[in-house]
Amino acid sequence: MWIAKVVVTYKPGILDPEGKTIQNALTQLGFEDIENLETGKYFALQFGKKIDKQKAEELTRETCEKILHNPVIQKYSYELIEVKA
């Protein structure tokens, strides 16, 4: 059984207010070596038993393109992992 782990983040140059706020908090806590912090959204898509890796990848791309990310401001990446049913 395949699971797609999808991460959607902002494109470079797009304001990430949550990331900035967390980074400021970290700086205040003394983590000065963290120069940049990026936030994003995580989605796990679990496919049915009949779906092979190729189909899972196809469906993952399709959902990312259609709804999970907004190409104007975001980019996505994913990995497919196989799990025992």
Binding site: I14, E18, I67, N70, V72, I73
Partner: protein, 226 residues
């Protein structure tokens, strides 16, 4: 002239729009439920403000796929007039009926206050009742109102005169200090290329009676009626 105002789960300016059209302007208006998949005969559709589907995923991202939106996209492509206000603007962008995106305000705050916007293009179906350069006062109430588009799109919007409203000072100066959310080029409202779809962040439906502090918003709906 018959208006329809869409009701999504989480819409909260649908009643304001209904009240304004029905009671103040005294024109016909009906609510349209988001699950409807047939549009009765309307001349103009209002996509109201609020938090459709909880703004989950991204503001407007889920509403875009509701049954009624498929119909509204078709209605718009056939030349029907559509105005998206605040969350309605976000839905229009997610639907691809307008270019660009709305991201979090650069202030990192929910901004809720009256603002001034300048009528940049009065030669539209939505702004005919205004004077060119007229300064309007109406409220904003949003966290994601920061209009973003790439340089090419911005240049195209400007060249084609599709930037309809820009945030400005009380005196009509379009300057950074008058920009409440970081929007590119102080953009408060834009039009599609065909001129029948308007999206804007400020709320004209909340500025339709003097008791509310301004009735500048009336002009948009009156322009539509003609």
């Amino acid at each position: 002239m018959k208006f329809g105002v869409v009701v999504f789960p989480g819409s909260n300016c649908d009643h304001d729009a209904y009240h304004l059209i029905k009671k103040v302007i005294q024109a016909e208006i009906e609510y349209i439920w988001h699950a409807d998949n047939s549009l009765r005969l309307f001349d103009a559709i209002i996509l109201p403000g609020g938090f459709s589907y909880g703004d989950y995923l991204r503001a407007g991202a889920v509403a875009r796929f509701s049954p009624v939106m498929q119909e509204i996209v078709r209605f718009a492509k056939e030349g029907g007039k559509v105005i998206g206000i605040c969350n309605g603007f976000q839905i229009l962008l997610e639907s691809g009926l307008l270019p660009g995106a709305l991201i979090a305000n650069d202030t990192l705050r929910f901004r809720c206050k009256p603002v001034h916007i300048k009528v940049i293009n009065r030669d539209t179906d939505f702004t005919g009742k205004f004077r060119a350069g007229q300064v309007l006062t109406m409220p904003i109430a949003h966290y994601s109102g920061n209009y973003f588009a790439d340089e090419e799109t911005l240049a195209e919007l400007e060249a084609e005169n599709r930037i309809v409203f820009q945030y400005c000072t009380e005196d009509g100066e379009v300057v950074a200090e008058a920009n409440p959310n970081g929007s590119c080029r102080n953009i408060a409202g834009i039009l599609n290329r065909e001129g029948n779809v308007l999206g804007m962040m400020p709320h004209p439906e909340r500025a339709g009676e003097p008791i509310l502090g301004s009735d500048d918003g009336l002009g948009i709906f009156e322009s539509l009626i003609g």
